[in-house]
Amino acid sequence: MNLDLTSRTGGGTATVTGGPEKAPPSSAPPASTPPADARTPDTSAAAGLVPAIQRRLGRGKSIPFGRLLGPLLLVLAWWGASAAGWLDPRKLSSPASVVTSAQELWVSGRLQESVQASLSRALLGLLIGVAAGVVLALASGLSRVGDAVVDGTLQVKRSIPNLALLPLLILWLGIGETMKVVVIALGVTVGIYINTHAALVSIDARYVELAEAQRLSRWVFLRKVVLPAALPGFFTGLRLAVTAAWLGLIVVEQINATSGIGYMMFQAQQYAQSGIILVGLVLYGTFGFASDALVRLVEGRVLSWRRTITA
C-alpha cells in the first residue's frame, strides 16, 4: 500500500514518505514510533495527545455461514428441551423421532414423492409468475400506455390477498394442479412486478442524460442502461417472489391436495403423527432458506459491480 503510493507520487516526495515506509511493521500507533528523519524531533512527550484509535462504525466482517447460526441454535434448544423431558412427545416430537419419521418416509418412498410434487408445483408457479411479472413491469415501465393500462390494475391486485381470490379461482379452474400453479404464480407476479417496475421508473436521470449525449439508440439504451439499472430491483422482487411461492404452495396444499408435502402433513394430522408434521415443516423451512440463499448467490454474481455495506 505504502509502496504503491510512493511509486505513483514519484521521486519528489520520497523523503517525506521514507519515514513511515522504513518503520518496522509493528502495530504500535504512529505517535509512539520515533521516525528516523528530523521532521518530528520531539513527539511522544507532547501534552494533550492521545494514541490514535481506529473506530469502526460499520457492521464489521461477515461471519462465514453466519446465516445458519440462528436456525442451528433453535434446533439445539429444541433438542435440549426434548431430552430434558420438558416437551410432551404427543404435542412436539423430539428431533430424534423427527429424523426417524423422515427415515421411514424415505424408505417407503413417500418423502421423495411428496417433495417432488411440491417442488414442481412451486417451481412452475415461480417461473410463470416471474415471467409474467417481468413482462408486465417492462410494459408499464417502458411505455406510458403500458403504465396507464397495467400499473393501476396490478396495484389493485396487490391489495387483494390471494386467499381472497381462492373461491373464484376454484370456481374457474377446479381444485386440480392448474389452480394450484396459478395461485402460486399470482403471488409471485406481484412481488416481481412491484420491485422491477419501481426500479425501471426510478432510473437515475443522469444516466438518461448520458445516453442522450452519447446518442444511444433506444435499443442500446434499454440493453446497456435501463435493464442493468433495474436488475437490483428485480432481485429484491425475486427474493420476495420466492417467499411468495412457498407461501402460495403451503396454502394450496391445504386444499384437497392428493400429493405433496402439505398432503403428507394433513394425513399425519389425522393420525396424530406429530413427527411427520414436523418433517413437513422442516422441509418447508429448508426449501425457503435454501432458495433464498441461492437467489442471494446469483444476485451477488450478477451484481458484482455493486459495492454496498454488506460487502
Binding site: R206, Y207, E209, A213, Q214, R215, K224, V225, P228, W305
Partner: protein, 262 residues
C-alpha cells in the same frame, strides 16, 4: 415577460460563416419559469477553436452548454443552434455506468466493428490502457474522469462540450488533467466549449474566453499565449485580472485597471 426576438439566419454572412464554424447559435433564449436565463444570445465557435465559457453560478453558462448539447428538451426557449454531426459531452461527474467495465463504458454507443480497438486506443491515450476491464468504482476520481475523457474523444468529435469537467477533482489532479486535455485537444483538434467558473483554468486552457453574466456575454477575450502556459507570465496575469474584473470578483480599487463591463 419579454417578447423573444427570434432571429434566424439572416442572409449571406451567416451562410458564409457556417463554412468554418463548429457552432452557430442565433438568438438563443431560455427561461426557467419567470426567470430568463439566456437573453437572446448569439455565439459562433470556429472549427478547432478552444473556447472557455466563464461565468458565476447562475450566469446561464451551463444552460447554454446544455442547449448546445441538445439536452434541454424540457426548457422553454427559442433560437437556432447549428452543431456538427459528431458532438461529445464531458460532465462534471465522470458519469461512468457502474455496471459496465471501463472499456465497455468508453465504447458505449460507438458504432463499427473496430469499436473495441478504438476504445483501447483511447484508453491508452489517457494512460488507462491497463484498466480496461476494471469496474468504475475501482478507479480514483481522476482516473474516472480520464476514462470519461476517453469516452468523449473516441468518437473523434468535431465539437467537444465540457461542463466543469474538473470541478470535483482535487487541485493537483486538476493540473494534470489540464495538461492532458490540452494535449488531447492538440492531437485531435475538435472545437472545444469548456464551461468553468475557474479563471485560471480558462486562461490555462483556452484560446478564447467568453464571460457570461446574467444571460448575456459581457466579454470576449482572446488569449494569445503559447500553448504551454506559465501562470507567472505577466500576460497570463493581465488576462486573469481582466477576467476577474468582468466577473466582478476584484477588490474595488483594482477594477479601474481593467476593461470594465457595464
Amino acid at each position: 415577460m419579454a417578447t423573444y426576438d427570434h432571429r434566424l439566419s439572416d442572409g449571406g454572412p451567416v451562410a458564409e460563416a457556417v463554412e468554418s464554424a463548429a457552432v452557430r447559435v442565433n438568438g438563443l433564449t431560455r427561461s426557467f419559469g419567470d426567470r430568463q436565463v439566456l437573453r437572446n444570445v448569439d455565439l459562433t465557435l470556429a472549427r478547432g477553436e478552444f473556447t472557455a465559457l466563464l461565468g458565476r453560478s447562475g450566469s446561464g453558462k451551463s444552460t447554454l452548454l446544455r442547449a448546445v448539447a441538445g439536452l434541454d428538451h424540457t426548457t422553454v426557449g427559442t433560437g437556432e443552434i447549428l452543431v456538427p454531426r459528431r458532438v461529445s459531452l464531458v460532465f462534471q461527474d465522470s458519469r461512468l455506468l457502474p455496471w459496465l467495465r471501463i472499456l465497455d463504458n468508453v465504447v458505449l454507443g460507438l458504432p463499427g466493428d473496430d469499436a473495441r480497438e478504438r476504445g483501447r486506443a483511447a484508453l491508452d491515450e489517457v494512460s488507462l490502457g491497463g484498466r480496461a476491464s476494471a469496474w468504475p468504482h475501482e478507479l480514483s476520481g481522476g482516473e474516472q474522469q480520464r476514462a470519461a475523457l476517453a469516452r468523449s474523444l473516441v468518437s473523434e468529435p468535431e465539437l467537444l462540450l465540457a461542463d466543469e469537467p474538473f470541478g470535483s477533482l482535487d487541485a493537483l489532479t486538476r493540473i494534470r488533467m489540464h495538461r492532458l486535455l490540452r494535449r488531447l485537444y492538440e492531437r485531435h483538434r475538435p472545437a472545444v466549449l469548456l464551461v468553468t467558473h475557474d479563471v485560471d483554468e480558462a486562461v490555462t486552457l483556452a484560446d478564447r474566453v467568453l464571460v457570461l453574466d446574467d444571460g448575456d456575454f459581457v466579454l470576449d477575450l482572446r488569449i494569445d499565449l503559447p500553448a504551454d502556459r506559465d501562470p507567472g507570465d505577466p500576460l497570463f496575469q493581465r488576462h486573469r485580472t481582466t477576467l476577474l474584473g468582468a466577473l466582478g470578483a476584484l477588490p474595488d480599487d483594482r477594477t479601474k485597471d481593467t476593461e470594465e463591463p457595464s
